[in-house]
Point group: C2
Chain length 238, copies 2
């Protein structure tokens, strides 16, 4: 945790925040904060800054909060992500939040196992917790908006065009002829990343009809938790 | 597992391999292979090809192996990697094997916890097992060579120059002025990736004296298991 993330309602009109629970424990056990010390903080959806420890950490932690800087710039990337196995999703969601992804739609696909939909990882409050871990890591305050769609084809045919908006649309697929394109830093991107077994050719055709260009990342088959940062790194660094 | 990885001594002069243990179980329980079916296989350090199931899977699995293609091309990247926490190392080693990294030297650093050196993850046979997972994922047969160095400064001052060889040397560091450079696809690269808390300025200076150019990945602080694929993606895709 490189930033203590506060909820907007936790900071009073006097600039004082009082914490308990997971963040109090983390502040005490891992950060070992002391009275008078200054921490990096951010308010969810708002600015970042510093907080001085007024009291504690004991049963609570009282902080004086000074917000004075914007969160880091966005990556300008939206992801259509075939639902990964729950264990992978628990790593991918913090990763995409830390990378500054704007939006994620988690979709079904032919090679997504039905049982994944029953996973507690897809519960909105669980997703929010995973995204907050990524924000705390990257010193960001703005989480990606995450949605879930249980049916691939209706989503792609009826919703995806409007959802994707003006961004350039790319779908990594091993048989694609072109590689990763050079994309101007400011151009918004929408990338459709398949499940561990890949998109089917039919799924790629449906995406292509919505303007998604197939691109190849080379012959190596990567796990989704490796592919996602690799693709974002290739498209958006520095 | 997208490729069944065989050890060189497992394939007889008659082209027949007999498997037991983890790979037999995986073939039976996950791949659900049937008599007569054809699987993708590779021999460690050698070619890839296919294998036909002659017998089993029962107590063993008998395969007729036909090797006919080279493994995928290398990424041409060597990593100097500050030893991550054991849980992260268990993810990073399969990831770097799947990405085709050539060599990894796991080094101590100021922000590496001493206890990490006692982790079973650093045992050579454990490392080898993690690398094999990555090879099976990416359908590769050639693992990165992994070494461990317990002292940072003597390694950097006395060994690193020769170890790095002719490759371009880069060290990601948040205060660097230049971003990720465009590097010709064939140029070998040596990248020094710090621990979760980053390299210290002193460590970056020691690396700079060995020809490592500091580069910035932007203001976001990434976990090592996210940073490694993102940096490799940025430098080597497509």
């Amino acid at each position: 945790m490189n930033l203590l993330l506060l909820q907007p309602n936790e900071v009073g009109a006097d600039g004082v925040a009082v914490l308990a629970g997971r963040r109090l424990e983390h502040a005490r056990e891992v950060l070992r904060v002391q009275h008078g010390e200054t921490l990096k903080v951010g308010v969810k959806g708002a600015q970042v800054g510093t907080a001085t420890v007024l009291e504690g950490p004991a049963e609570t932690l009282r902080l004086r909060v000074m917000l004075d800087a914007p969160p880091p710039p966005r990556a300008g990337i939206s992801l259509v992500l075939a639902i990964p196995r729950p264990k992978a999703l628990k790593r991918v969601l913090p990763a995409v939040a830390s990378l500054g992804v704007d939006r994620v739609v988690l979709v079904n696909a032919a090679k997504v196992e039905k049982s994944y939909f029953d996973s507690k990882v897809l519960a909105p409050e669980f997703i929010e917790g995973l995204l907050e871990l990524g924000l705390e890591q990257a010193r960001d305050t703005v989480p990606p908006r995450v949605e879930v769609r249980e049916r691939f084809r209706p989503f792609v045919e009826d919703e995806l065009g409007a959802w994707a908006g003006p961004g350039r649309r790319l779908v990594p697929h091993p048989t694609a002829e072109s590689g990763v394109p050079r994309v101007p830093a400011k151009e918004p991107l929408v990338v459709a990343i398949g499940p561990d077994g890949g998109w089917t050719d039919f799924e790629v055709e449906l995406l292509a009809k919505q303007g998604f260009t197939p691109i190849s990342l080379g012959p190596r088959i990567l796990r989704v938790e490796v592919a996602v940062p690799a693709i974002i790194g290739a498209l958006r660094f520095p």
